[in-house]
Amino acid sequence: MKANLFIEWLKSREGIYYVLLALLLVVVFPLALDSFRLNMVGKYLTYAFAAMGLVLCWGRSGILSLGQGIFFGLGGYCMAMFLKLEASSPENTAIQSTPGIPDFMDWNQLTALPWFWEPFHSFSFTLIAVLAVPALLAFIIAVAMFKRRVGGVYFAIITQAIAAILTILIIGQQGFTGGVNGITDLRTLMGWDIRTDEAKTLLYFVCVGMLFVCLIVGAWVMRSKLGRILLAMRDQEDRVRFSGYDVASFKIFVFCLAAMFAGVGGAMFTLQVGFMSPSFVGIVPSIEMVILCAVGGRNSLLGAIYGALIVNAAKTFFSESFPELWLYGLGVLFIAVVLAFPDGLAGLYRRYVMPLESKLPAILRRGNAEAQTLPVEEAK
């Protein structure tokens, strides 16, 4: 019964979009791209996690966060701390004055592992922390802001300020965080070398798997009554409040969920790229995430994924060919999206491609009908 419903859903228009995305990510890219390029697609996809979070938080609920890099970075740093501890075994670090601690701590005259690094010896703790640390900080920010009814531009500016503060904190506390270089030279995950091509390919598939988990969670939230309340809240906050809802608690929930998505993305980034640094935490990456989401379509989870792929691919292409032009290009792109097509690629798709689609199923249906009548005739 449940399986039937699932198959029915896969045949629906929405289901087909999911299947197409899965085919693209699981079949087409791995076959068409070499290991290096596939790893880059994997890196692009890590930004899609943050962009999907923004679809829920900004597109659906009207809460613009210019600080998703905070949560992306926290997730990434949690994973990097675990990997760094594994790479800093006493044997590997025998030449240091204090063997067994990460190299940058040794350079900074630390002689013992700081207390907050200790739990990151455990992989299961790390996995929980990747979700819990971003969620906890998001919860604190959200409670402080939304209970006081701070919203709109003020909220966006505050999140941006926090992103700046966190970057400065990470850079300033070099002995604890690796400073501006970040946490580098990550080697193995539970003894498995993550630097080989095979490992990177496998991690790409793990990343795609996690992406689909987040996509399904996001889609489920948007389809639930909570999703409709978020939309209602975006348009008529007072009406929702005076319909008996505690508006702040819904905002807190969606902001924490978006932070967790970004955290998972950050952890997958660290695993695939092999290091984490403050340059993925601050204002610039946070704004890039907003642009990915806007280009893809801020009301569409799938749009956010395509947006992340396309904008990042363009970024790679342009910064390889015309490095000085990229930032201007990005700025122009953002302005163009906001002015000309506010619903992004997903909006353009809905407007121009969907009408064509309705012609397509007619052909498919005819094909199906023939396929279905054939066996019956044979049976006769």
């Binding site: 639930s224 009554k225 309340i229 209602a232 007072d238 409040r241 005076f242 008996g244 929930f253």
Partner: protein, 249 residues
């Protein structure tokens, strides 16, 4: 003279709110009996909307008390006031334009009001039945699956009233429900209010004297944050103070 407080569904006493020294509502007292339709009239700036804001918690009172079914509302948060049974319609129709009429009513249905509850909420037979029942009352049965943005102004006003009705409040507060409506729509709205008041206490702000005469049990006239006069529509109409500040114009 004052009857025992238990007889009143709503008892407002000595209510005062001051915005930087300006007293928008000044030592106001108001008592509503169950199932009563009370209309508040008065010139612009008399503090009518502020009174509704104070009752529903949108504005916090500087002084005074608001007792609703024995509960003190001045200390409660907005959503708890709603859950206690006070529904409020805003002056401009506040509906969710991107949702369908059905979804507008469903979001207002009093179940799944917490985050977890909203995630677990299922559109079961009871919900559908309640939505359809209200849709019939507000003349929107045929429009259930249309986007609310496509409704006419009058239909939007009815939808918002419907969104309150589905919450089954004990007290319904309506801020200018017929403003901007055509004559035909006004008639239909008066009819709607008559159906509603069989089961609810209603507090209405209105300017249209014809409409007020049609629906009101009692009328309260406000002026400069105070009650100027109170009584039946005929009593109020003949009160010289009322004629001077309001009706005379």
């Amino acid at each position: 003279m004052s009857p025992s407080k238990q007889d009143f569904i709503l008892a407002v006493e000595g209510l005062t709110v001051s915005f930087d020294g300006f007293k928008a509502v000044n030592d106001l007292s108001l008592y509503l009996e169950p199932k009563e339709i009370r209309v508040i009239i008065g010139p612009n700036g008399a503090g009518k909307t502020t009174v509704l804001d104070l009752i529903c918690g949108k504005t916090k009172a500087t002084d005074g008390s608001i007792k609703f079914q024995g509960k003190e509302l001045t200390k409660m948060s907005e959503h708890n006031i709603v859950r206690a049974g006070v529904g409020r319609k805003f002056q401009n129709p506040s509906i969710y334009e991107d949702l369908t009429v059905f979804e507008n009513l469903e979001v207002s249905y009093p179940a799944g009001r917490s985050v977890i509850g909203a995630l677990a909420f299922k559109r079961d037979a009871a919900v559908i039945e309640a939505v359809e029942e209200v849709a019939e009352t507000i003349f929107l049965t045929d429009m259930l699956h249309q986007e609310a943005a496509l409704l006419s102004h009058g239909q939007k006003q009815w939808l918002e009233i419907g969104m309150l009705l589905i919450q089954k409040p004990d007290l319904l507060m309506l801020d200018e429900p017929v403003a901007g409506m055509s004559v035909a729509e006004r008639k239909k709205t008066a009819e709607l209010l008559r159906v509603i008041t069989e089961n609810h206490t209603v507090l209405v702000i209105e300017h249209d004297m014809q409409f007020v005469g049609d629906i009101a049990d009692r009328v309260t006239v406000m002026h400069q944050g105070k009650v100027l006069s109170e009584g039946s529509i005929d009593h109020v109409k003949q009160d010289p103070k009322v004629i001077e500040v309001y009706l005379g114009h």
